[in-house]
């Protein structure tokens, strides 16, 4: 099985601080990989490095055997890395429908002059984006909020908007940064359902950061544990759960919820 996303020996320094060291990752098609680790381990930094927010000091990153290192974030996203954010990053003055439509940006091929004069080409592509947006809204059960501003939605609904928006970019690998942060247990169960559904319906590979062990153990086929920027253990969930190093570094300090 050739990996979809491959990260090879990635290292990053913030000034003198070594944030990530010798990090390797391969995500195969349709696989769910989890990244766990205590606070400050560098999980979000790993995300930001792969998605192009920062450029790694060393290493290689390929998506479908194509180098994506050094590209701009929007180019990497257009190539097929969708993501959500740890602290919701929605556009506060925009309604839900526009969020999903906006994520079609790279799929539009009309130029500025088409937009200025509202040409047929522009209208056609926008209509297509809107149709697709409604389909996604329905799938994520937020169609009834289509005209509302995101700030007026509940936290769980905002999370779903973010997921739908990420899916609208047509990702090959979906990056989820703590998808259940701040959720109630009910919402948590719903989120698991949604992620499963996305995974099945879209056949997308998922790479996620998560704190809640129950969530990770249930969803992921492969788990990495990151401590101080280094992977100390990786493997299938059962193995990680019983790995003494992981327990010491991470699980031992926290309740198994």
């Amino acid at each position: 099985m050739t990996p979809l996303l491959h990260v090879d020996k990635m290292t990053h320094y913030f000034g003198g601080l070594r944030a990530v060291h010798n990090y390797n990752l391969s995500v195969g098609p349709n696989q769910i990989v989890g990244l766990i680790g205590p606070n400050g381990a560098g999980k979000t930094t790993v995300f930001n490095l792969i998605t192009g927010v920062y450029t790694p000091t060393e290493g290689r990153i390929t998506l479908e055997n194509e180098n994506i290192l050094g590209l701009e974030t929007n180019e990497i996203a257009a190539k097929g890395l969708g993501r959500t954010f740890q602290n919701l990053a929605l556009w506060r003055h925009m309604n839900v429908l526009d969020h999903i439509k906006m994520a079609h940006y790279s799929q539009l091929s009309y130029g500025l002059f088409d937009a200025f004069f509202n040409t047929g080409k522009c209208r056609k592509q926008e209509a297509k984006a809107e149709e697709n947006a409604y389909r996604l809204l329905e799938l994520f059960d937020i169609k009834r909020h289509a005209d509302q501003l995101v700030t007026s939605l509940s936290y769980g609904a905002q999370r779903r908007v973010e997921m739908a928006r990420a899916m609208a970019t047509n990702p090959k690998v979906l990056f989820l940064d703590e998808p259940t942060a701040g959720m109630t247990p009910d919402e948590l169960i719903q989120m698991i359902k949604i992620i499963r559904q996305v995974h099945q319906d879209f056949g997308v590979a998922i790479f996620l950061i998560e704190h809640r062990m129950k969530f990770v153990m249930e969803l992921c086929q492969h788990i990495q544990t990151l401590v101080f920027g280094e992977v100390i253990a990786e493997g299938p969930p059962e193995e990680i759960q019983n790995n003494p190093q992981v327990i010491e570094a991470y699980l031992g300090k926290e309740d198994l919820t």
Partner: protein
């Protein structure tokens, strides 16, 4: 309050076409009887130019007369004719709904222009006020693209305007007039009106290119720092113009051919509204809002943030340049002092008063600040106390301006109103 509500309810079934008819009636009454009968009978020296505000402020004894004039000439005819004609304007509006939207919009606009030019034609002062107000609308909408939709605080608008004004003036002076500096006319002046749009567009493009000086720093800085850069840009343009003697330096440049009659400015204003509306309602244009609200999220959602910022600046500056060109050809004289901090204050007042992120808001802001500025002229210094005070109150009660984050839906606006 109950009275206001019942008046509102009474007038609620009048479609836009009905209002236009009412206004037409008012304007006709003023046109035929305004001077001979009404203002004479009410003891007014002449037809009140801007609803009599200037007369009232100059001579408080006139207040009852002016109010009576406004009531008799404007308020009553508009309401009565509007209401009385609702029985046939509603079906008319209904019939027009079946036409393609652009035809019905065009019909309404033509009627509106006819009424406007009839109203303004009563004296030259009104024409000038209407022209400058229309130019202000273009300016306000164009700064709204940068300060509202894109959310950068840019202070460089007078600079963009100056670039547009000077470039298009140089072109028209060079081509159509016998000028001391630029020599004899190259083309017959009769071609002027036809080639004027090109001169304006070149002015606009020059302004758009100049705006890159502010747009490129905006990739890395935001907020206050960008405001300072843009302010610097404005002063750079001003002092550059002051020091170029070919275009008149600080003395200014005059003698532009009068190529901007009311209908030309009206057409450009409507074109501006249409194009900007198209842009900001497209996904490409909404990317401006996305970048404003969360840049990192926009990048991750495949939005090209740099291109978006650059587009916002260049697009806004282009229209500012057009407005500048029209401005130069209305006054047929420009000097660098016109494009300085006072102009900036005026533009910012219009956009923040009217409302960010909204074209209707911009129109409301531009019209009200312009009319207010003219109406309060007799108060001289106090004008600059009253207008800022109004602005402060707007900012307290509506921090984003009167009408913000709203777009007009032309179809809904022009539709027939149902009887309740």
């Amino acid at each position: 309050m109950k009275i206001v509500q019942s008046i509102k309810k009474f007038l609620s079934n009048i479609p836009v076409a009905g209002w236009l008819l009412g206004i037409l009636a008012a304007v006709l009454i003023e046109y035929f009887w305004g001077y001979d009968y009404i203002s004479d009978y009410l003891g007014l020296p002449k037809i009140p130019v801007l609803f009599g505000a200037i007369l009232m402020l100059k001579d408080p004894v006139m207040i009852p007369g002016v109010l009576a004039y406004d009531l008799v000439v404007y308020v009553l005819p508009v309401c009565i004719v509007g209401k009385a004609s609702a029985f046939f304007t509603n079906p008319l509006a209904g019939a027009m709904e079946k036409l393609p939207l652009w035809i019905s919009v065009l019909i309404h606009l033509c009627c509106f222009y006819g009424i406007l030019s009839l109203w303004a034609g009563i004296n030259d002062y009104r024409v000038l006020v209407v022209k400058l107000t229309l130019i202000s609308i273009i300016l306000t909408i164009s700064i709204n693209v940068i300060n509202g939709y894109q959310g950068e605080f840019s202070c460089s608008h007078p600079g963009f305007m100056a670039v547009g004004a000077y470039v298009s003036s140089v072109i028209t002076l060079f081509l159509f007039t016998n000028d001391k500096i630029f020599g004899a006319a190259l083309l017959p002046p009769a071609l002027g009106p036809w080639l004027f749009p090109f001169a304006l567009v070149i002015g606009g493009i020059a302004a758009a290119v100049a705006s890159l000086l502010v747009a490129i720093p905006s990739f890395r800085t935001r907020g206050d720092y960008l405001a300072i850069i843009s302010l610097a840009f404005m002063f750079i343009v001003k002092s550059a113009v002051e020091n170029i003697n070919v275009i008149g330096g600080a003395r200014g440049m005059g003698g532009q051919p009068d190529l901007a009659p009311l209908h030309v400015i009206f057409i450009w204003t409507m074109l501006c509204i249409w194009v900007v509306h198209n842009f900001v309602t497209s996904i490409m244009g909404k990317a401006l809002n996305a970048v404003r609200d969360d840049e990192a999220a926009s990048e991750s959602m495949t939005v090209k943030t740099r291109k978006t910022k650059m587009t916002a600046f260049m697009f806004g500056a282009f229209w500012a340049g057009i407005a500048g060109g029209l401005f130069a050809h209305v006054l047929t004289y420009i000097n660098p002092g016109m494009f300085s901090i006072n102009r900036l204050a005026e533009i910012l007042a219009m956009v923040y008063f009217g409302g960010l992120n909204s074209i209707v808001g911009s129109i409301v802001g531009a019209v009200s600040i312009n009319i207010l500025g003219e109406a309060l002229r007799p108060l001289e210094l106090f004008k600059w106390i009253i207008i800022p005070l109004i602005l402060i109150f707007v900012m307290i009660f509506r921090p984003y301006g009167l009408i913000s984050f709203k777009e007009i839906n032309a179809g809904k606006l022009l539709a027939a109103k149902k009887n309740k």
